[in-house]
């Protein structure tokens, strides 16, 4: 699903150049649940930016579902993002003046799905995350865990190839964290490819594979026995 070959990225800081990613190689197959771990400054955010097509690598290859991601203009990047990727953020990033349903329906708006269908689909995904009754509530009427579940429903709504989760449990207490991870595991069980960036060991161990980043290189890439989050819920 994701192929990365010798990926390099550096940022210019005045006269200095900061080499953030130093030749990454890895691949993710369909249906995997991968945790990317690393301390801050290890390059995991940069990697996520590049995987999310929000930034471009200096050199190296990135193939997503067989499509080479290279030299994209903004329009094309936007199209690919909409078609291939679903984002889940630490701070949920729901639009606060839109109800849960409207937030979930938003990616479909950019797929030019008609309004009525959008809403039906949004309700469907909200009920999948168990928030059907909350469909018409605004984000600030929801708890943190509920917000993240709305965000997950939103990421799912566009039916992407890959879900990119950036510290999805970073703003949640451990109980809600496990609930969210349980949901992510369930989605993965349905065959979705998910990539989770985290720095929490227990969250990482709820994935099937852990990629450890340090100073821009992969220091460890191992398959783990998945800990089911449901046992903590």
């Amino acid at each position: 699903m994701i192929e990365i070959n010798n990926l390099h990225k550096s940022y210019k800081m005045g006269s200095n150049s900061l080499h953030v990613l130093k030749g990454l190689n890895f691949s993710i197959k369909e249906g995997e649940l991968v945790a990317i771990m690393g301390s801050s400054g290890s390059g995991k955010s940069t990697l996520l930016n590049i995987l999310g097509m929000l930034d471009e690598a200096d050199s190296g290859e990135y193939t997503l579902d067989g499509v080479p991601i290279k030299n994209l203009n903004e329009t094309k990047a936007a199209k690919y993002r909409n078609k291939f990727l679903g984002f889940i953020f630490q701070s949920f990033n729901l639009i606060n003046y839109k109800s849960a349903m409207e937030n979930v329906a938003l990616p479909l708006y950019y797929q030019k799905v008609p309004r009525k269908q959008r809403e039906e689909k949004a309700i469907k995904y909200l009920s999948q995350v168990g928030l059907k009754e909350w469909a018409h509530h605004l984000p600030n009427e929801l708890s943190g865990g509920q917000k993240q579940r709305v965000a997950i429903a939103r990421a799912m709504a566009a039916e992407p190839k890959v879900l990119l989760a950036d510290e999805p449990t970073g703003a949640l207490d451990s109980k809600t964290s496990y609930e969210v991870m349980d949901l992510i595991q369930n989605i993965n069980d349905q065959g979705n490819t998910i990539l989770v960036v985290t720095h929490e060991e227990d969250i990482a161990h709820m994935c099937k594979r852990i990629v450890h980043l340090k100073d821009g290189v992969i220091v460890e890439d191992k398959t783990v026995d998945q800990v089911r989050a449901s046992q903590y819920v």
Partner: protein, 414 residues
């Protein structure tokens, strides 16, 4: 523009951000409102000045004599110049083409005026029949001196309204009453109105009567002329300067006065005085233009500020939409679409309110120097467009920048 889905999205945003919409709209509407009211009063002020000045804006030229101060052709300085009928007739004929109205004037002195037992202390002036128009005096009752009165040396008088009011308050109308000037009865045939009380304290009698009855001989004190209206003001001034100098040199020759003796014969033209007023109104126009431009700038700054704040508030939303697959251009387009929609609507609301107010109150405003404040609709309309455009431009750059921010970090910070 015709994308219904987009309009729905925009109306959603407007409906759910009532306060933001209201504040943006209010700032634009009040900006336009203040601007239009200000422009209206600028115009009103201009109108007021023009009206105030129109009363005095006759093209009149006046001549009065003085004393020579220079020796000329063997004549000593210190001679008093005396204008005579011949001066009047000569000048009138020589410059006939340039003259519209003309009249001599004589101040009748050493007389007593009585109405019944009451002594009147008002000036008596002998004038010709065209003098009324030269003076811009409006007849309230009866008539002015006529040509026949002049040829017949009629013993009639025309009095100012103030005299009529002060002296003839016990009779219905002063017309037909007789006043006694040095023992000779004069019949009152008319009363006139002037802009100032002082000018209504005069009694006019035919110049011929004044000269024959009161030993005036052929002496006159003033010559008064008006010139025909010219195409524009500058032409009018040029005409009057030319007429003045020709008239002056004629009179100087007739009275053997040195050409550079400014004190012997005075020629005064209202138009040249008027020029000062005109340049005043020009300056006022300039001032209001300046104020208007400053107000527009203030409006532009205000609207731009609001737009900056709005876009800043929505930066995160822009990032979210982008992550969800929106093209940068569609995000910027949507935000500008919404803001232009709001600013345009509220701009027109402000425009309609302010113009309505001016229409309603404008004609009723009666203050010195402010007459019928009103505003040119096209000017007002273009200010609305300027403000809307300024808002759009001010909103565009931050929105564009926000839509092109790359990193996930932008979405990380709460």
């Amino acid at each position: 523009m015709l994308d219904i889905e987009r309009w729905q999205e925009i109306f959603d945003a407007i409906r759910k951000n009532k306060l933001r919409t209201f504040l943006t709209g209010l700032s634009v509407a009040s900006g336009i409102f203040i601007l239009v009211i200000l422009l209206g009063f600028g115009q009103g002020f201009k109108n007021g000045i023009a009206q105030e000045f129109a009363q005095d804006a006759a093209t009149s030229v006046w001549v009065w004599p003085g004393t020579t101060t220079k020796e000329y052709k063997g004549l000593n300085p210190g001679r008093n110049i005396q204008l005579r009928n011949s001066d009047y007739n000569f000048s009138s004929e020589l410059l006939a083409e340039q003259i519209d109205l003309k009249s001599p004037r004589i101040f009748v002195r050493n007389i007593s005026v009585n109405y019944g037992n009451e002594a009147l202390v008002y000036g008596v002036q002998g004038v010709s029949y065209q003098f009324q128009e030269i003076e811009n005096a409006k007849m309230s009752r009866g008539r002015f001196i006529s040509y026949q009165d002049e040829t017949n040396t009629a013993k009639i008088a025309v009095i100012g309204n103030k005299i009529a009011h002060d002296v003839f308050n016990e009779v219905d109308t002063p017309i037909g009453e007789f006043i006694d000037i040095s023992g000779i009865p004069f019949k009152i045939v008319g009363t006139f109105k002037e802009t100032e009380d002082r000018e209504e304290e005069r009694i006019f009698i035919p110049i011929t009567t004044a000269q024959k009855v009161f030993n005036g001989g052929d002496k006159v004190n003033n010559l008064a002329f008006t010139l025909p209206m010219a195409e524009n003001f500058d032409d009018a001034v040029a005409n009057s300067v030319k007429f003045k100098s020709q008239l002056l040199s004629n009179l100087q020759q007739a009275h053997t006065v040195a050409p550079d003796d400014t004190n012997a014969i005075h020629v005064w033209s209202a138009l040249e005085e008027a020029k000062r007023f005109y340049s005043l109104t020009d300056n006022i126009k300039l001032f209001f233009w300046f104020v208007g431009v400053c107000t527009i700038i203030a409006g532009v700054v205000g609207v731009s500020n609001i737009m900056l704040i709005v876009v800043r508030e929505r930066t995160k939303e822009i990032g979210i939409r982008k992550a969800l697959g929106a093209k940068p251009w569609s995000i910027v387009g949507m935000i500008l679409h919404e803001s232009i929609f709001i600013t345009a609507i509220s701009g027109f609301v402000g425009l309609i309110l302010s113009m309505g107010l001016l229409e309603l109150l404008g004609p009723n405003i009666e203050v010195d120097y402010v007459v019928n404040p009103s505003v040119n609709f096209n000017v007002a309309l273009s200010t609305v467009f300027v403000l809307v455009l300024a808002g759009a431009v001010a909103g565009f750059f931050p929105a564009w920048r926000a839509a092109n921010i790359h990193t996930i970090e932008a979405l990380r910070d709460e």
